[in-house]
């Protein structure tokens, strides 16, 4: 019986030691988890920050697109800053301190609402005889602009002339010149022969 308390004490001590060691292990593992979770949190934060930075960069850079894609994705791109490049066509229409410039990128055409000083950078507009300046413009796209009665337009900030316009010289094919002359001559002969006959018959 005397040995019982001692045995119990040893068992309790052992149990205590084991529990301590388990706790220590648990504590150790717990620390590792904390350390792991801390490092994971750091990674997530880094990723988020990187994503945010990328988004900010993208926003800063604006979305590069074509005019048809603007119309096709008008709801998604409404109010966003976009970059388009197209040929200035027709002519500039000044409205006070601002101007309307129409650009066509081959997929479609859209109106740019830009400051007159920016519009003045464009000197050549596309017509039958001219290839207009290729304009690189970054601006806010509006699907249904409330300032302009619901029109889909682009409020431009900066205009860069990517390529200058030029005069397109007409080339008349030799065959066309010859056939015009031949047909015109034939036409005159036919008219000279037929018209008196018709007039004579009508008179009869």
């Amino acid at each position: 019986m005397r040995k019982l308390p001692g045995t119990l004490m040893i068992i309790l001590l052992a149990a205590f030691t084991i529990s301590l060691s388990v706790n220590a292990e648990q504590a150790a593992s717990g620390n590792t988890d904390v350390e792991n979770s801390e490092s994971e949190n750091d990674d997530a934060e880094k990723t988020e920050k990187a994503e945010e930075a990328e988004e900010a960069k993208e926003a800063k850079e604006a979305i590069r697109t074509d005019i048809n894609a603007l119309i096709e994705n008008a709801k998604e791109l409404d109010g966003k800053e976009v970059t388009v490049q197209g040929e200035a066509i027709g002519e500039r229409m000044d409205r006070g301190d601002y101007s309307w410039v129409n650009i066509n990128d081959g997929t479609n055409a859209i109106g740019l609402w830009i400051e007159k000083s920016e519009a003045e950078k464009i000197t050549c507009y596309g017509t039958y005889k001219f290839k207009g300046d290729m304009v690189h413009v970054t601006g806010i796209f509006y699907r249904a602009c409330s300032e302009h009665g619901g029109e889909a337009d682009l409020h431009g900030g900066s205009v860069v002339i990517a390529e200058e316009g030029y005069y397109v010289a007409e080339k008349i094919p030799f065959l066309k010149k010859i056939s015009t002359a031949a047909l015109a001559a034939c036409g005159l002969v036919i008219a000279a022969v037929c018209l008196p006959v018709i007039r004579k018959r009508i008179d009869r």
């Binding site: 096709e72 066509i89 129409n102 015109a184």
Partner: protein, 512 residues
């Protein structure tokens, strides 16, 4: 006169008058040729000289073939009048497509014919490529085609008649016009041109002033004014640039164009009556009543539908876009103040359906507009009311029902039947077009929108009409535009005449 001789004269009558119409219409190529000369556009100038020479030669050949008829002076029958109208439109489409084709802006000759038929029928859809770089000469030609098409090539040719001929009225009716402003046809056609030319002068001047005010250069402003007037008055819908009416970014320019196309969609008889002091005609006329009711309903319904979808940020924007586009559709003009794809992507099925209905109803009879026409819609609606009233009233009670169109007219069963037949023809043409569109894989709403636009000679597009669309659809659309503008009967008469001829040739061959 035996049967063979009669047959031979029929051909000669048709040939002579068709040639005469071709000669007069082809002469108009002198205007774009002069425009090209003024702006030193040498390539287009040669294109027009080539096209005009070939067209005049073709016209002259037809006149020469039919000359024997002048000597014998046979009767011009209804079938001749209808066949002349239908055939001259076909021949002129092929001939007038030459400058388009020679310009190098068309993918194929079929596309060139498509654009010419679109112009003549005042539809306004285009397959022409790189519109922003076409010459002033070709732009002038496009808009002249739509202006002449609006009044009618037969009307133009009859204006130049030296003396009245018996068949003039038959040809005039064959082109889908039946109003008699003065007792003779020559006088009536001259009155139609007088009305159009006075509006041309006033409208062009107004648009020119507005054009300068919105920032166009004076020379450019006058060209744009001529183009937009011709297109608006004839309810055509062509514009000199890719963006159509959006090119100008101007409410006042849009409003001026809208007033002109509404005026253009009214019956020439109505213009004539108002000019001669009968101002009440605008309220009493069944066509104007029908137009105001259907316009009001379609605009309100479209506004409600788009407000539900929050398409436009505010009432002003919504009102400006919806009123312009719905009225452009209703008058069969086809000017678009939004992009074609915005109809499909933003207006929703309800908005598209409203546009389809507006496009099919169309403008007034004997105007420059297409579609079923307000007169027919009014007559059929009144006929329905008449039948209901007859059912509810005593059998012994006899009442004559009337409608007012320039003068009071009796609402007869025959008038209702004629109107209903044409409505059925329009619906059938629209149905086949929709079916064809869906066969080629276009969505139902898009196919229906485009088919209604083509059948009603409107010209608004949802994006289906493009140079890359199947050739079968291009051919069908050409036929539908042609049928819709000539209101079926002339084309049916020409087809019947051709079938009759083929049948006789076959019978003769069997006898041999």
């Amino acid at each position: 006169m035996n049967q063979t001789e009669k047959k031979s004269y029929s051909l000669e009558i048709i040939s002579y008058y068709t040639g005469y119409i071709v000669l007069i219409s082809s002469s108009l190529m002198a205007i774009p040729a002069l425009t090209s000369l003024m702006f030193k556009e040498w390539n287009p100038l040669l294109d027009f000289i080539i096209s005009m020479t070939v067209s005049l030669a073709a016209g002259l050949a037809l006149v020469m073939f039919g000359m024997r008829m002048k000597k014998e002076k046979p009767d011009v029958q209804w079938k001749h009048g209808f066949a002349v109208a239908a055939l001259s439109w076909l021949i002129l489409t092929v001939l007038c497509a030459m400058p388009y084709w020679l310009s190098g802006h068309m993918k194929s000759y079929l596309d060139a014919c498509f654009d010419v038929m679109s112009g003549f029928t005042t539809t306004g859809v285009v397959l022409l490529q790189d519109l922003d770089h076409i010459s002033n000469g070709l732009n002038m030609w496009r808009h002249i085609l739509t202006f002449i098409g609006g009044q009618g090539m037969v009307v133009l040719a009859l204006t130049f008649l030296v003396k009245e001929t018996g068949g003039a009225y038959k040809m005039y009716v064959g082109e889908g016009k039946d109003i008699e402003l003065v007792p003779n046809v020559k006088g009536t056609t001259r009155q139609i041109w007088k009305i159009s030319m006075i509006y041309l002068l006033v409208g062009t001047a107004v648009l020119w002033v507005i054009g300068i005010a919105i920032g166009l250069k004076p020379v450019s402003a006058i060209l744009h004014a001529i183009y937009i007037f011709e297109s608006s008055w004839s309810t055509g819908g062509f514009a000199p640039n890719t963006q159509n009416i959006m090119y100008y970014h101007s409410l006042i320019y849009e409003t001026a164009a809208m007033v002109i196309f509404i005026l253009g969609s009214f019956n020439f008889g109505l213009h004539y009556a108002i000019w001669h002091g009968k101002r009440k005609e605008i309220i009493k006329n069944i066509e104007t009543q029908s137009f105001f009711i259907t316009s009001f309903l379609t605009v309100i319904l479209a506004l409600a539908g788009l407000a539900r979808l929050n398409v436009y940020p505010d009432a002003v924007a919504g009102f400006r876009r919806v009123v312009f586009n719905v009225l452009s559709a209703h008058t069969t003009t086809g000017f678009g103040s939004i992009y074609a794809r915005q109809f499909a992507l933003e207006w929703g099925d309800f908005g598209i359906m409203i546009m389809v209905i507006a496009m099919l109803i169309g403008g007034s009879a004997c105007s420059t507009a297409g579609g079923i026409k307000g007169l027919r819609v009014g007559i059929v609606c009144k006929g329905l009311i008449m039948d209901i009233k007859k059912l509810l009233s005593s059998e012994r009670r006899m009442k004559v029902y009337k409608f007012h169109h320039i003068k009071d007219q009796i609402l007869s069963e025959g008038a209702i039947k004629s109107a209903a037949i044409i409505i059925i023809c329009y619906i059938a043409t629209f149905g086949v077009g929709t079916l064809l569109g869906t066969y080629y894989g276009y969505p139902l709403a898009d196919s229906a929108f485009e088919s209604a636009s083509i059948t009603g000679n409107v010209g608004l597009s949802i994006g289906v009409t493009a140079p890359g669309m199947p050739a079968a659809m291009k051919v069908y659309y050409i036929i539908a535009m042609y049928l819709g503008r000539l209101e079926f009967l002339s084309v049916f008469a020409l087809i019947g005449y051709l079938f009759g001829g083929v049948k006789k040739v076959c019978a003769n061959y069997r006898e041999r």
